[in-house]
Structures are given as structure tokens and as C-alpha cells.
Amino acid sequence: MKSKFWKRWGLPLVLVLIFPLTVLLPKFGIINPYIDLVLKYIGINIILTVSLNLVNGYMGEFSVGHAGFMAIGAYASSLLTVWVFPRELGPFLFPVALLAGGAAAGIAGLGIAFPSFRTRGDYLAIVTLAFNMIIKSVLENIDVIGGPRGFMGMEKLTSLWWVYIVVILMVFLARNYVFSNFGRGVLSIREDEIASGLVSVSTRQVKVLTFVFSAFLAGVAGGLFAHELQFINPRSFTILKSTDMLVMVYLGGVGSLGGSILGATVYTVVMEGLRTVLQQVGISQEWRLVVAPLMLILLMIYRPSGIMGLREFRFLVPREERPEALAEFREQARAAKGAKEVVP
């Protein structure tokens, strides 16, 4: 029997202990810059996957334009760090820039969600698809931010430890959301929207809130992405990027945070691994582009629920929601009630 202390503080302690590694390993060259980069991509992809999973997995709607929100986050945060914030304060104001990028994406999400959720069905897919394309062309046509040439001048603020902290924070927020009244409302909409409204869930409110939160997460990931590459251009945020996110969501498992983490990790590693493999074999790198859609098709046929299905890792479930805690609550409730009358 594990003690109460470990149950409560075990996970935070492990996370805190890993933190120095994320600072020291890249610094002393224990992991080479390439591994460092892949790890950062995994982190960014985890946030993106969680973001899209909220809408496509938990809510059962279908967004195909999340790269648009990522673009808004990337540009908004980059404009802040390059134009607005003083250079020497950059590293300290980086979280502010990330949050601002997320907020900008969230506002865009609000603009999309309001009209889209008047109806249900394929409507959202079409609107988000159009949104993704519009964002790309708008960015291409604003000359002050580089137009099609892209925007640069950001410092390399995205370090492994920043990614680590932000991922933990975002997954924490998403977990809290999912295991709340709102998260359950989201699930009920996926299960049966009419019944959901008829047991007092304000379906419109839940849908808009979830979509905005999802857009916010994508925006934050965009900020991290921009300050890693130090160069962004509209072509980085096309429907192809959105497709990557879709594959990661369905690979890991819809309606599961653990699935999002697994899906993002496996997909990133496979795609990077393929780079080396194709080079060794001597086949064109273009073939990597075939893999993502192919994976999506095979997944849909052979394992539509992804690696995790609707399950969740234990450490991602709040303590009070775990089975043994519920059993305890039930005993308490029974004890307090005594032998009260029961429905015939």
C-alpha cells in the first residue's frame, strides 16, 4: 500500500525532478541538437493534439482547420517579441507572448464558433477548412509582416525546458477542463445533443467555450513553434499541417488525453525516423507525405478508436475521480444517509 504522501505528491515530484534534465541535457550536449529538436516538436505536437482532440474527440464535432489557429498564435506572439517587447527582456516576456498568441487564436476561435454552432454536422468542417485557407491568404497578402516571404527576427526562445513547462501546464488545464462540469457537458453533446439540452446543458455555451479553449491551445503551440524555427511563413500552416494534427488525434485515440500524448509522440518519432530511413534506402523524402494520409486510412479501417480508445492513463485522472476514491465517497454517502427510504 502506497502512503498518502506518494499518492498525492508522487506525480508532481517526478515532474519537478525531470525538469533539471530538460535544462542540463541539451546544455552539456548529452543529447545532440537533433534529439533536442525532436523532443521539442513532440511537446508542441502534444499541445496541438490535445487541442484538436477537445473538438474532434471529446465533442464529436469535426474541425479540419486548426493550423489556422496555430498560425494566428505564431504570428501574434512573434510580432510581440520582435516589434513590441524590448529585446533584452525577450526571455522573460516569452510566456506573455505565448499567452497573447493563445488569446489571439482564442478570439479567432470565438469568431468561428459563434456562427458555426448554430447548426450541427458537417458545417463546422467546411467553415474551419475555409478559415484555414483564408488565414493563409490573408497572411500572404499583408506585406508588413512579410507576406508570402514570411516573418523572421525572433530569437530562439523556445528551449526544451520551456516546452516542458508549457506542455505540463496545457495538459493540466485540459485535464481540469475535461474532468469538470463543462467537460462532461462536452461528452454529453457527443453522446446525444438533444438529450444533453434536455438535462439542462447549455449546448451552445459548452460548444463555444470548448472551441475557444481548443483554439487557445493551438495558438500557444504556434507561439512555441515560431520561436523554435525563428522563421514562419504562411505555407507552414496549410491544410497539410491540419492533416498532421488529425492523424495524431486518431492515432492516439479520440476522447483521451493520454491518447493525445501517445499519438503526438509516436507520430513525430515515426515521421522523423522515416526521414533517416528514406535517406538510407535512397528514396525521395517526398514519400513522407504519403505516410500521413496512409496512416489515417489504415487507422480508420483497422483501429478507429486509436491506441487508447476512450481510456485514460491513471495519472491523467484527477485523484478524486479515480475508482478507489469514488468507492470511498460512496461509502461515506451511504454511511451519512443511513437506512433511508429507497425507491420501490
Partner: protein, 256 residues
């Protein structure tokens, strides 16, 4: 005291008149049944009351407030809950979550408090969980709190649906064919359950039912619909011998 007052309620689906000039006056504490052949418009009346459809004409006044044009979740929050003809639980969710979802408007915390896992969120979640377990306990379902609801036996799914409806703290409960698919023993139990919850939760109940055992056994008043028209109204005894009711159910007498 008049709880629900419906007048001239009329609804068209395209050219089809599903409900015509439906009137109903419900007093607090009453148990009234709506019966009629399939397609008579009974469920449509429920859908109109709960805001799933917006009526073409007519008024629905509940506790002095007009319900026309309000969304389903607003109407539920005002105290009208319902169950469905074909059970509509959230199938993939646990029994506990099915009932907790019905606490949506009474959760007592904001989205910020939920996102940041603040103390008020934790406190309110405990309260909701406790209330839910208590309610499930009353229905003998607390032992199955973590079961996925689709895995419950049929009779318990019906009970869970009623429990979920009660979690919204209604004053008026609409039951849409609660006895559908039940065997005689289960029907007997259901009738007791309905009377019990009416007493314990001080409910007014409006009931759609095909099984005459249930209707004649517990309803105080009956309305009979046929093709959207109200063809008869009265006590169970009056309805049983009403010529138009017999005609609607059995067909017209043919002159020899």
C-alpha cells in the same frame, strides 16, 4: 394552483398537422396521462413543452411564465424535466456522469475555477458528487456508479433516466412511455416507483403511456389524442367507456 397552462397549441410539420388546438391545465401535484394511437401527436406535445420544437401557434405558460421561444436547457432549469420513449442515456458515459451532467446549471463554479482547479471548484464538485450518489442510492444504483450506462440492464436504464431527470430538480416531470418494453412484473414496480417519486419529490407528472394497466392504475385524469386532435378527456372510468376513444382504438362499428 395551476402549474402548467397550455392553450391552443398547434404544430405543423410542413403540411402535416401534428397537434391541433391542444389545451391542458395542470394543477400542482396532479398525475395526468396522455394516451392515443401511434402518431397521435403525444410525443410532439412533449417536444413542444420542452422547447425541442417551437410551436406554430399557441401558448405554454409554466408557473406564470411563458415558455414559447425558450431553449430546452432554459426550460429544464425552470423546472420541467423529461424522459424519452426510447431511452436516451449518454451510453458511453458512466452512471455517475449521466446524473452529474444534469447538474450543469447548478454546478456553482465558473470555467476559470474549473480550468485552474481552484478550491471552490473542488468543493462544489464534491457537493455535486455527493448529491448524485445520494440520488443514485435512492434508486439503488449507487453500486453501479462507475458502470458504463449502456451496460446496465434495461429496467435499470429506465430508472437511471428517471434519476437523471430528477437531478435537474423539476417541479413537473414528463414521462414518455416509461413502461415500454417492460414485463408485467416490471410494470407493476414502475407504477409504484412513479407514485413514490411523486410523493417524495413533490412532483406533478404528465405521462404518455400505451399500457392501459399503467394509465388506468395511476392517472387521475386522461387526455386522448388522435391525429393531433383531443378527442376525449376525463377520469379513467369516463375514458374507458367513451365511444370516440373506443372508435379511435378499435375502429368504427360497421352497420350490418
Amino acid at each position: 394552483m395551476t402549474l402548467l397552462h397550455i392553450e391552443h397549441l398547434t404544430h405543423y410539420f410542413g403540411g402535416l398537422r401534428a397537434v391541433h388546438e391542444f389545451n391542458l391545465e395542470l394543477q400542482s401535484g396532479e398525475l395526468v396521462a396522455i394516451i392515443g394511437p401511434n402518431g397521435a401527436g403525444k410525443t410532439t406535445v412533449f417536444n413542444l413543452i420542452t422547447g425541442v420544437y417551437r410551436p406554430s401557434e399557441g401558448n405554454i405558460v409554466f408557473q406564470g411564465q411563458n415558455l414559447i421561444g425558450h431553449k430546452p436547457h432554459e426550460i429544464v432549469s425552470r423546472g420541467i424535466a423529461r424522459t424519452f420513449q426510447n431511452i436516451r442515456l449518454f451510453k458511453e458515459l458512466s452512471v455517475l456522469d449521466n446524473v452529474r451532467i444534469a447538474h450543469y446549471t447548478r454546478a456553482g463554479y465558473s470555467s476559470w475555477e474549473a480550468l485552474l482547479h481552484l478550491p471552490n471548484f473542488i468543493k462544489q464538485e464534491r457537493r455535486v458528487r455527493r448529491e448524485t450518489l445520494d440520488l443514485l442510492g435512492i434508486f439503488g444504483l449507487d453500486g453501479a456508479a462507475e458502470t458504463t450506462s449502456k451496460n446496465l440492464p434495461y429496467g435499470q436504464q429506465r430508472r437511471l433516466e428517471i434519476a437523471r431527470a430528477l437531478a435537474t430538480r423539476p417541479a413537473l416531470l414528463l414521462l414518455d412511455e416509461p413502461a415500454a418494453g417492460m414485463n408485467p412484473a416490471e410494470v407493476e414496480q414502475l407504477m409504484e416507483t412513479i407514485l413514490w417519486i411523486r410523493r417524495e419529490f413533490q412532483l406533478t407528472i404528465l405521462l404518455i403511456e400505451h399500457q392501459m394497466r399503467v394509465v388506468m392504475g395511476i392517472a387521475e385524469r386522461i387526455k386522448v389524442l388522435d391525429f393531433g386532435e383531443t378527442i376525449a378527456e376525463g377520469t379513467p372510468q369516463e375514458i374507458q367507456n367513451h365511444p370516440r376513444v373506443i372508435e379511435a382504438y378499435l375502429g368504427e362499428e360497421v352497420a350490418a
